[in-house]
Amino acid sequence: MTAVATTEATRPRIGSRLLGVIRRSPTFAVGFTIVGSFAVLAILAPLIAPFGAIEAYPFEVLRSPDGKYLFGSDGNGMDVFSRVIYGAQYAFGIAVPAAILMLLIGVPFGLYAGYVGGLTDEILLRIMDVVRSFPSIVLALAVVAATGQSVVNVVLVIGLLDSPIFARIVRSEVLALRSSPFVEAAVAAGNPTWRILFVHLLPNAIRGATALIAVRMAWAVRISATLAFIGVGIQPPTPEWGAMIRQGAEYIISGEWWVATFPGLALVGVVLGFNLLGDGLQDLLDPKRRTAAR
């Protein structure tokens, strides 16, 4: 017991803090672990996967899971396990740039609209109305179907469709902050507008959007898989989970369940991970929720 206590005491502060966070919000910890594990899978895919992502053995199609093919093999004789691992690269490869795009477009727009108001604000609100009143999956589908099927297009569409959400949340934060003393002081000190926006307002306004980033990344992973499943977006034999589920769908009623099941589980895992992460972040960042001891 004493030995443990000593190591505890000498451990750097950040360690005990992390431990505290895990205890305070198990949701966050679980989400973080899931997302982290998949990120590791994505990075180390070539080392972990026993087969290549599109390495086909035409004489070994639709083998059920066994020692050689952990998750079985698909209709082309490709190893489902290896493809699921490589699929993580696509999940992050789409979600991360899409999230960056959302922020790059949405945040400046929201800052400006909230601070300056006027026409920009009006336009933002109207765009918000349209996007909000309309199911984004259909817009995404239609746009991707019309503009062509590439990873870049998928990222662009997801980033664009989601940017108003960030614009709106940043806008409302800025509205609340606009007349606070520190902003007025910055104005009085003669700061140019861009400096007030990005140096003074941004750090304060971005806080409300933090938890949202994880949630919207979950959405990005989901919707890119949906696009691939429907057949627009990323095409087989690219090891994208949605595309793999599409390939596996036809075998479901003949009993070869593994082709669709495993990529689906991975998809659920990553999306759930991001959602838990977002939920946990909200827990941790919301001071109101932090108080009550239970």
């Binding site: 765009i127 109305d129 349209v130 019309a146 499943f229 479901i252 009550a292």
Partner: protein, 338 residues
């Protein structure tokens, strides 16, 4: 302001939104790299035929002229013709919408009937065991892709257990579809007391409806919980407790105050779900508007895509106006002074 003025105002507010959607859909089919004329005429058409077709379709005019013509036709409810089915788009939609609504509305009823009580219960003891479990289930529902969930359901309940009928359409080949009244095979066959059709269409509803209810319930749980938490921490609930009203009365006040926001939320979810249901239709070969719309998108059936998107937009506009009317009647605060 009278009720009529209020409604008029509300409807007028919807117009810019519809206009925006119209413009986007109009743009969509024109920014693509596929030439509709070439697609329609086929690979063997000569230049002369293409030119004639182009003029016939009005595609040789300027962008804005085309848009004006398009909007003009929409106002007369002329959505154009589907190249796939060769029917007027509006006829195709009218034929297929009931099948989608059947799935959607039943699943919505079940999802709300489960999700709202669960959300309320969760809020009573935030971070308690029930709340933790409910939140996890809700997040899981958020995270499971509809189509994959449906595939798993089919594998287990059709292939393994044999409880569900084959996932191919709304009614079996052994039963005759009932005469069309509401458009729901199940209700229509009930109306004419055709029991084999009732059985056939009823059993085929069960699996997709149950799967969809889970998807529907997830956000309802989350938002009901959030709304209830806000109400429970309000001044008027605190004051009600300070007034010594019985816990039962206090709970009733809370429920009554949470009702409108929950209703508004549930209704506002409908449009998104009408779009999401298309994936389910796709897998169960349901033949509803969603499946039709997906196919239209996949096949670049431009008029049909536009029709589908506009129908969704219109649907959402109608829901919004209906929600406003409901709020108007339920909430004294909003009484005609918005």
């Amino acid at each position: 302001m009278t009720l009529r003025q209020f409604l008029l105002r509300r409807v007028l507010l919807v117009i810019p939104i519809l206009f925006g959607i119209t413009f986007i859909t109009f743009m969509l089919v024109r920014v693509g790299d596929r030439d509709p004329v070439a697609m329609l005429a086929g690979p063997l058409a000569d230049r002369q035929t293409l030119a004639t077709l182009r003029t016939e379709m009005g595609l040789d005019r300027s962008f804005w002229e085309q848009f004006a013509i398009y909007v003009g036709k929409l106002i007369q409810l002329d959505f154009g013709k589907s190249w796939e089915s060769n029917n007027p788009v509006i006829v195709d939609i009218a034929n297929r919408l009931p099948a989608s609504l059947e799935l959607l509305l039943i699943a919505m009823l079940i999802g709300a009937a489960v999700g709202i009580p669960v959300g309320l219960r969760s809020a009573q003891r935030p971070n308690g065991a029930f709340d933790q479990a409910a939140r996890f289930v809700s997040l899981l529902g958020f995270s499971v892709p509809t189509y994959w969930f449906a595939l798993m359901g089919i594998f287990i309940f059709f292939f393994k257990l044999g409880w569900a009928p084959p996932p191919m359409g709304r009614i079996g080949l052994d039963a005759i579809p009932p005469p069309d009244v509401t458009g729901s095979y199940f209700i229509d066959s009930l109306l004419v007391a055709d029991w084999s059709a009732v059985h056939s269409s009823g059993t085929r509803l069960v699996l997709p409806v149950l799967i969809f209810s889970v998807i529907v319930a997830a956000p309802i749980i989350k938002h009901t919980r959030a709304i209830a938490l806000e109400v429970l921490s309000s001044d008027y609930i605190r004051y009600a407790r300070a007034s010594g009203l019985s816990p039962f009365t206090v709970r009733r006040i809370a429920l009554r105050n949470a009702f409108t926001p929950v209703l508004t939320f549930v209704a506002s979810e409908l449009t998104g779900l009408l779009a999401a249901v298309s994936l389910l239709e796709f897998i169960f070969a349901w033949g509803g508007m969603g499946q039709w719309g997906l196919n239209a998108i996949l096949n670049s059936d431009f008029a049909a895509v536009q029709g589908y998107v506009l129908t969704l937009a219109l649907f959402s506009a109608v829901i919004y106006v209906m929600v406003d009317i409901a709020v108007l009647m339920l909430e004294p605060r909003s009484a005609l002074k918005a």
